[in-house]
């Protein structure tokens, strides 16, 4: 049974928890979290002759037949049909009711009795114990009454309570299946079948058996099972799972496709570029499966409360019956006690959290955001401060030239000469030079004898004179001096914290290229959206203070701590955590330990991080803009859970109060109880109606702000070029 806690219910895909049941259905091993799911699953899957589902329906149907007859005769009895001349019939009617009720109790109550015993053996009392004790007492009393020829029997109460609970649990499970419909494709990813083409034949293979280079056919409407390139066919694909946005993206032979995206309108033949189980999609699905079986803190709390609640209610029911028996006939007192047991059944409390968390996790996963643990979702909802790492998180992580300081030489000539050297370089800063040269339409100057000096830069020969590009160290070693005016300008520029490339030829350093990381276009709007949600943002970075301050002002962050080692970052976080929950956003590569130290570690983009366990939330590459959406979902989930708990507990207290006072009929109590669970399910399903995230609003504002913010540096380049 302990293995059951790690599994998901076959029907509603929620963690089965403690009251799991295992069943063999049509040769398949299924696990169910509750009786309702077992019914609903079988009703849904039940096809074919003599299936388990058919037998279940027969049992329920016969149980319904019996209890409806019991109810009918009892109703006629209550409304005084068998009085006066017909009074002689009454004992016969009661006997008839007993004959109907005995099999009805066994048929309808069987699953509840079984559950009670299974749990009791493990020393637990669950809600079904309340039902069994309550209805059992009503039945036993009535059976005695039949033989003592008493005028009151309550077979109808016993059988109707069971009937209502059965129907209620079925309806509840049917509602939960709506949530499962969204999660199912996520959980099925690896066991899904793909159509593999080998020569002229096509096979159905499990996705996890697919290796690199396999040809896979994907029909319109199907999910693309592997990463790869299109060999044949044109179509559109929805890559929401990777980009977060639902858009039809055109695909033709040669285009890359991503596993998990949906092939919208044309058949495709795809050559896979990797193993089927190594795709980001497969990793997302694995993470989601792991997350779903974890229990959130509020769920653990609810479970603990339920654990105490059931015995308490049992005692309360007994006490109620005992107290009332002093004032009322015994049978009426017994009914009052029964009403207490039935109405206090804490089914809704147990349902409050898991369904909402699962829906939230599923919702985010469909936009490429992986939440590793429901607890992270709850923590994100309560977070007040979000700390950002700079490089690769708020910035693109790729350098670009922001200024060319060249008092004497022409900027374009400097660039063309530098590009002539850097075209042979693998260095990131070298690429920035090539990009800028290409952007200005400059051809790299012809350069010979190019040689890289590790850790320094690169040197060569152009037009018969030596040329070098690299750091200050390289120039010192070469013995080249800066022109006086250049030295002055560089000094003034030093405080900015930009990376620098010195470019010189003919024995003199002629120019300095200033390079900087560029802020992501969506960073400003994302921070702004977070602020509008009442969240504070801060920058924690290992870079120089000036560089940090510049990026912070561009993206709109006021609070900065720069020049921190990873250790210092952790200390800074810990300091903030005293004031409330803190989330840390990083690229997941360099700040693993820092992410792990935060209350919620959020990694952007790195696929490797999906496999590692540092971040609790992983956004897709380029998915910084999804952060406000993730916060929205987390908050909606938390609000739903709190609403559910408030409803379930509030309802229970009022209803138990009414029942203890003898104001609630047991059958009515059962009906209202079943209704309350349904309400919790319906309330949770409202999460499905959350609007999809949209990047449009974010990207509209961003570029203009970005231009003004980096405009100063652009001007430097322009003035220098004159």
């Amino acid at each position: 049974m302990s293995a059951g806690t790690e599994a998901l219910c076959s029907h509603c895909l929620l963690p089965v928890g403690l009251r799991s049941t295992r069943q063999m259905l049509n040769g398949e091993s299924c696990t169910f979290c509750c009786y309702g799911c077992s019914i609903a699953y079988q009703v849904k899957q039940g096809r074919g002759e003599e299936s388990e589902a058919a037998w279940l329906l027969i049992r329920l149907g016969v149980g319904g037949f019996l209890s409806m007859n019991i109810m009918l005769f009892s109703m006629l009895d209550y409304t005084g049909t068998f009085v006066g001349a017909d009074a002689k019939v009454q004992p016969v009617i009661h006997m008839l009711l007993w004959i109907f009720a005995t099999p009805a109790m066994l048929i309808l109550g069987g699953p509840f009795i079984r559950e009670t015993f299974l749990e009791a053996f493990q020393g637990r009392l669950t809600s079904s114990a309340l039902i069994v004790v309550g209805t059992g007492a009503a039945y036993a009393y009535s059976a005695l009454a039949v033989f003592e020829n008493s005028s009151h029997v309550y077979f109808d109460t016993a059988s109707m309570v069971l009937m209502l609970f059965t129907v209620g649990r079925y309806l509840e499970a049917a509602g939960r299946a709506k949530a499962a419909r969204d999660l199912a494709p996520l959980l099925a990813a690896e066991s899904e079948m793909a159509t593999v083409v080998e020569g002229k034949t096509e096979w159905r293979r499990a996705v996890r058996e697919i290796v690199s280079g396999t040809l896979v056919r994907v029909r319109p409407g199907e999910r693309i099972p592997v990463d790869g390139t299109i060999v044949e066919g044109c179509s559109h694909a929805d890559e929401a799972v990777m980009t977060g946005e639902s858009h039809a993206i055109e695909k033709s032979p040669g285009s890359a496709v991503i596993a998990g995206s949906i092939n919208l309108d044309g058949p495709l033949l795809i050559r896979s570029s990797g193993a089927g189980n190594a795709t980001r999609w497969a990793q997302i699905c694995r993470s989601v499966r792991e997350a779903l079986v974890r229990r959130s803190p509020s769920q653990r709390l609810a479970d603990r409360i339920v654990g105490v609640f059931v015995p308490a209610v049992l005692l309360l029911g007994l006490a109620t019956a005992a107290v009332w028996s002093h004032y009322l006939p015994f049978d009426k007192a017994l009914l009052t006690g029964l009403a207490v047991l039935v109405v206090a059944c804490p089914c809704a409390v147990g349902l409050a959290a898991p369904m909402a968390s699962s829906l939230g996790i599923g919702l985010l996963a469909r936009h490429g955001c992986v939440v590793r643990d429901p607890a992270a979702l709850e923590a994100l909802a309560r977070t007040r401060l979000i700390a950002f790492d700079k490089t690769g998180t708020l910035t693109s992580g790729q350098a670009r030239i922001v200024a060319i300081i060249s008092p004497t030489a022409d900027a374009n000539e400097v660039l063309a000469r530098a590009a002539g050297l850097e075209r042979y370089s693998e260095h990131g800063l070298g690429r920035a030079v090539m990009q800028e040269a290409a952007a200005r339409g400059l051809a790299p100057a012809a350069t010979q004898d190019v040689r890289a000096v590790p850790g320094r830069g690169i040197i060569g020969n152009a037009d018969g004179e030596a040329i070098a590009a690299g750091n200050g160290e390289l120039m010192r070693e070469l013995g080249w001096k800066l022109e006086p005016e250049l030295a002055e300008r560089v000094k003034a520029h030093e405080a900015s914290g930009h990376s620098r490339i010195y470019v010189g030829w003919g024995g003199v350093v002629r120019a300095v290229l200033a390079l900087d990381d560029t802020p992501l276009p969506e960073a400003f709007a994302t921070i702004d959206a977070l602020r509008r949600r009442g969240l504070r943002a801060m920058l924690l970075t290992g870079d120089l203070p000036m560089a940090a301050r510049r990026i912070a002002s561009v993206v709109g962050i006021g609070e900065i701590e720069a020049g921190l080692s990873p250790e210092q970052k952790r200390t800074a976080l810990d300091l903030r955590r005293r004031e409330g929950l803190v989330a840390m956003v990083g690229d997941g590569l360099n700040d693993g330990p820092v992410l792990a130290a935060a209350d919620v570690g959020i990694a952007v983009g790195s696929a490797t991080d999906l496999a590692r366990e540092t971040a609790a939330v992983v956004l897709p590459p380029g998915g910084l803009w999804l952060l406000p959406y993730a916060v929205d979902v987390a908050r909606a989930v938390r609000k739903t859970i709190l609403g559910n708990l408030a409803w379930a507990f509030g309802y229970n207290f009022i209803a138990v109060g009414l029942a203890t006072a003898g104001l609630l009929q047991p059958v009515l109590a059962a009906a209202v109880m079943a209704g309350s669970s349904l309400l919790v399910v319906l309330n949770s399903l409202r999460l499905e109606r959350l609007p999809d995230p949209s990047a449009e609003g974010l990207r509209e504002i961003a570029p203009a702000d970005l231009e003004t913010a980096i405009g100063d540096y652009g001007n430097v380049a322009v003035t220098a070029a004159r």
Binding site: R47, E49, I58, G61, V62, G64, F65, N69, L72, M75
Partner: protein, 236 residues
Amino acid sequence: MTYYVVFFLAGFAGSFHCIGMCGGFACALGSDPRGTAATGVRHLLYNTGRLTSYVFLGGLAGAIGQVICTSQGLTVSGSGGDVLDLGQRLLAIVAGLLMIAMALQFFGRLPVLHRVTIGFSGSGFAAALRSLLTVRGRAAPLAFGVFNGFLPCPLVYAFVAQAAGTGAVPSGVLVMASFGLGTFPAMLMMGGVGRALAPAWRQRGVWFAGAGILLLGLVTLGRGVLPAGMMMVHPA
């Protein structure tokens, strides 16, 4: 007594409508290889299950009607000296309107309502029920009948409304019992010879049923609107 005979006849007429959907089930229930008697028992069990559900719904509707009636303390004195409960009048109006709406649906009017009432039948539940049809044994047809009784059906709704309108459990039970028994002959026939019935005849039956329900609806509505004493007051 005549009151319930009317419902029996209405049920009989209405059962031509049943042939559309429930008749299909009855046909699918098929025959028992053990002989004609066994087949008869099979169909009788199915119809008993169906009847039980109807009667239960009738009792429930009657009980609800009773609660509504007795919670209304107001009474209106009719000109003929009869006292008719205000709640009962309201119920009669609601029930009458419902029946008229259902009747119109039989003539192909109110397609919106049609979707509401029939929409469920394609659901997974109805599909799962089909698996019961082929199961041998006595319990399966009974269970199937019980569920069948709860499948959405405008005819049943109309009569449940009527049962609620009577405002008492016993009369509610009797209304649905007479209606249910009225559907017996046609539904039993479906198991055997009914399949040969021409579609034209079926259509005529449906119109006939619609007309009957329309008439009943008008009478019920009249009971709520017209001064007491002008209408036949039911025996409840």
